[in-house]
């Protein structure tokens, strides 16, 4: 495509060696820290604290993973289950709420629609730390400290505005005529939403759902503030709790880091394309 005659020297250098060097540097930049921690998770204690430092573990021992998973002090199996539950419920509830809201905002021209959209955009700019003190006292008053509900409800504060914003865009991209013909055939609005709009918007809905899952999975500040018992901690909170212990066990900690990363990395490879579309669509609208 770019091989048309008239490529000058600068262009050939930029498209050849410079691009390949940049690509190599970029990949190294993104991946090297991960590889370092991945290697650490297989190292024995002696290898981790050796001087001069040992780069490669002598064998791929999974001891650190087993110890982290079964540890009584920092039970990663329990943290994993907590994260899975909190993120899944947040995902399902967020998706249901935002489908209704996104659909209404995309289809009904009622008073205050613009204000609503603006509020959804503005709430994405609020810092999570702003909500920590009031939410803590609110959950405390409602007796919800150390419950999954407190974490799930709090997560709505950052998942819902973003997913609504994204879904409005997806629903608007679906021709309204399809619904109208379904309604002429006897569907009501809600029936048209379920039978016509949702199947068409499925990839977008799936992407927003995964976004809600990944965002809840990564959440740290609510998880450490609204829980105090070890068995209620999520993975993020558990990792921080591990750092707070008398001495940092880097072997187990790197295993924990890898355990926390793998699920989101897998989900993200699916999410990537849709999220980028959503982000840039939202961005262009401003």
């Amino acid at each position: 495509m770019r091989r048309a005659p008239g490529r000058d020297l600068a262009e050939r250098v930029l498209g050849g060696p410079v691009m390949w060097a940049g690509l190599g540097a970029l990949t190294l930049f993104a991946v090297a820290p991960f590889i370092w921690v991945l290697l650490a998770s297989f190292k024995t204690r002696a290898e981790l604290y050796a001087t001069p430092i040992v780069y490669l573990p002598a064998s791929l021992s999974v001891t650190n993973y087993v110890e982290a998973w079964t540890s009584k002090l920092t039970p990663f199996s329990r943290f994993f289950a907590n994260s899975l539950w909190v993120s899944s419920v947040t995902m399902v509830a967020t998706t249901a709420i935002s489908i209704l809201a996104g659909f209404a905002l995309a289809r009904f021209r009622f008073a205050g629609r613009q204000t609503f959209l603006l509020i959804f955009l503005a709430t994405q700019m609020f810092p999570a730390v702003l909500l920590i003190a009031p939410l803590l006292s609110q959950w405390y008053a409602l007796g919800l400290i150390d419950t999954y509900q407190a974490l799930i409800y709090s997560n709505f504060s950052f998942t819902v505005p973003f997913t609504v914003w994204m879904l409005v865009g997806y629903f608007e991209s679906i021709p309204v005529e399809l619904e109208e013909s379904a309604m002429l055939d006897g569907c009501n609005r809600f029936g048209a939403l379920c039978r016509v709009v949702l199947p068409l918007a499925a990839p977008g809905v799936a992407a927003t759902a995964i976004f809600a899952f990944v965002a809840s999975w990564s959440e740290l500040l609510f998880a450490i503030t609204f829980t105090s018992q070890t068995e209620m901690r999520t993975l993020s909170a558990g990792l921080l709790y591990m750092v707070g212990q008398y001495e940092i066990q880097w072997g187990q900690l790197s295993a924990g880091v890898i355990i926390s990363t793998v699920p989101v990395a897998i989900l993200f490879t699916y999410l990537q394309r849709h999220l980028i579309q959503g982000l840039s669509a939202g961005a262009v609208k401003g």
Binding site: V37, I119, S137, S157
Partner: protein, 310 residues
Amino acid sequence: MANGATVAAPLARPLLSRRARELMTGYLYLVPVVVVLAGTILFPILKAAHMSLYNHVLIKPQEYRYVGLANYARLLHDGVFWLSLWNSVLWVFGSVSLQFLGGFAAALVLHQSFRGRAVIRTITLLPWIIPGIVVALIWEFIYQPNYGLLNDLLGRMGLMTERVAWLSSPALAMPAVIATNVWRGVPFFAIMLLAGLQAIPTDLYEAARVDGASVVQRFRHITIPMLRPIIVVATATRIVWTFNYADLIFVMTGGGPANATQITSTYTLLQAYSNLDFGYAATLSVALLLIMLAFTMFYLRITRGLESVS
């Protein structure tokens, strides 16, 4: 039978017009979202404003009382608050400018066509999607003074004779946490700008090439102007997120050493989480909120301006 008449009446003239019913359903769909956001955002913000008027330290319930604007007076005289604002400026400026430059370079590279592009794109996005605490721990491990990778590499290259404690040195802690945040944020700019690059019609470049424009000229006169809207939006969003973002610093340094990395959001977090001083934490929250509102209005004005230009 009178029944026949009452059945016919609603058909002839419904209680509510079709339009009114439409509106009612529209609002009905919004009930869940309104309830959720009222309970998790709106009410907490009002509650924060209310809490900021009280002396409210969780572990000293006997001292709970209304103090008016005393917390705000304390804020104005709190040297750490003003330091944290200045640190926030350094943190935001350092992080966002380097993320932008790195992300722009990455986007230009990823925009080229080469074998395995999809895989490389996914891999380079990894630092952005993993949990914040994971990023913090990975880099804490790399920065370790005794068995960390960074000191080892610098030592081997002969750039360093003495081991450096990156995160506990007042001069180096801020650059170290900024470098970590840059690692995390480069992919964000890369994908945003990549999306922008892909939206530029190739005819523009072809036409410019026919007219004899060099690579540099094409970059300056086509790429940059066409990307301008997305650059403004991405940068503004990133500034807000970075200003608000507390996780990295909270985990890596806790704002230390001696408040060298204390930004306003971590300071707020520490007041609520470590000191359990809810009154003052709420005051700081209100201050944060006002700063964010001012920035958001500024941002909306800029983006409106952009729309009217294009």
